[in-house]
Symmetry: C2
Subunit: 302 residues, 2 copies
């Protein structure tokens, strides 16, 4: 069953110790939708400028992603320039050109409004709320956020959290939002703020999933050659949310755990190259093989 | 089957956001042996001063730990004073008084020399090497180290690594030793230096075990109330090495994995209080219960 994702589409210029790309396809909606498309049909709502290359649009369409909600307006596409130092864990931003993203007012095409699963990738929480108002009773709502909104729009974020089923955030954001260092305590605190489930993403250290009934700890899939971590969190979200949507059993322990693992795996493929280069080559068979390897590497004999 | 451990015995004065202790029992040999004593008989080789409280000695003896190798010499016991800030992940050292530890020359009582399992807790690698020379063909040798020795005694450490079966170190040390950021690559690099197995301890993020044949990823047991992380790495080592010694199957996948988990669990108990306060109350039944909970929390359904 379909997923609608609202987020950013960007042209990223990135330098890591292992290479460099200029104006490569990126953005939360792009990484999310590409990773998610392996499990469920995806519809994208985002904005680009007149300069957005046709080939990027074609890449998404060829993957079966619906881009009818990808609005093209006068002006330049959102651009981000950043680099990673040796540790590859945190990006240094050199410049952020919001461009057409500055005045982004998400429009939901009529035929998208019934989409049963909605994922609000990282954008201004006021926009995330506005998107939800335009949707007709989605069955499952997920959202992500970032440090900027936690510090500048705490009230909007608080309002949003009462309306979503799953809230995904990274460990730094969980600590910032709650003021609690211990991640288990922070997760419990977040659950009290409204969402029925929370996933704390810990990058190379894995993820923690908590609902009122379930608790699941997963390491990250061990990747030896991390070329560029950009988009890993969005790919995690795409794999997780889309696998869960496909299962139809949103609160079932097996579906939840497998979905966390699929999130981890999609992120693991993504970091192996720049932009969508690695994901473009991933096959369902490869995902299944990595799933089996991962189970083997983490199994605790009783 | 018995384990001999050589390391430090200290009087620690520690402040964390959750409390404070003055001159509490600590040191790598103490934490290791107490955690290890739940699985196998333990013999300690270390040094203390004349000021070392009898009650501490009694605590170890009451747990069945052999302290015949715990030499008491003129002078003051090793003292460490440190504190932890909010994140509890790294200690700030206020003072280190080596005292009698400065001239520590480990003496192995005759009846200890046949001990089949030897663990060299964190001390000068030259001393670790000297201890090995005094032992009669141990079946299994493990060792730990610290950043200080990696930077000041690289040649001695290199020599030592060729003589041990298992090398345990934390993620920062693994990166420092190899110059490699990626922990999987760093682990493989360490295996090339001699040890048959390496365990990279990642604190609250778990551990990675690698041998030529096995690969195992484990998250850490989720502890909500971390009062004092001092000694967690030594308790991990104690649980791991001692459980492996008990199994007698040092290279068996099941034994290795279960031992990593027992290491994780002993560390999880330890951080719940200062000094040995929590470990003193742990029962085998509690360890088993936590083992089962942990398996449940990490299981990936196929």
């Amino acid at each position: 069953m379909s997923i609608l994702v609202v987020g950013s589409v960007a042209l990223d210029s990135i330098k890591t110790p292992f290479g460099e790309v200029k104006e490569a396809l990126g953005g939360s909606a792009v990484y999310f939708s590409y990773a998610a498309s392996f499990f469920s049909p995806v519809r994208v709502v985002a904005v680009v400028g007149k300069d957005f290359p046709e080939e990027h649009l074609k890449l998404l369409e060829d993957k079966g992603i619906s881009v009818e909600g990808l609005e093209k307006v006068e002006g330049r596409t959102f651009r981000w320039t950043g680099s990673y130092e040796n540790d590859m864990n945190s990006a240094r931003t050199h410049s952020t050109e919001l461009n057409v993203f500055q005045d982004f007012d998400p429009k939901i095409p009529a035929k998208y409004q019934n989409t049963p699963h909605v994922f609000l990738a990282n954008i201004d929480p006021d926009l995330q709320l506005r998107v939800l108002e335009k949707m007709k009773k989605p069955k499952l709502i997920g959202c992500d956020t970032m440090n900027l909104w936690i510090s500048t729009k705490p009230e909007s974020l608080e309002k949003l959290l009462k309306k979503v089923d799953f809230f995904l955030l990274n460990e730094g954001e969980a600590r910032q939002l709650t003021g609690i260092t211990n991640l288990i305590k922070a997760g419990k605190d977040i659950l009290k703020r409204g969402p029925k489930g929370v996933v704390i993403k810990k990058g190379e250290h894995g993820a923690i999933l908590m609902t009122k009934k379930h608790f699941f700890l997963a390491p990250a899939y061990p990747v030896e050659a991390v070329l560029d971590p950009t988009g890993a969190g969005d790919c995690f979200a795409g794999g997780f949310f889309s696998s869960l949507a496909r299962s139809g059993k949103y609160w079932d322990g097996t579906a939840l755990r497998q979905s966390v693992i699929f999130g981890t795996l999609m992120a693991s493929f993504n970091v192996e190259s720049f932009s969508l280069e690695r994901l473009k080559k991933v096959t369902p068979k490869e995902i299944r093989a990595r799933f089996n390897t991962f189970r083997k590497h983490t199994r605790i004999p009783g």
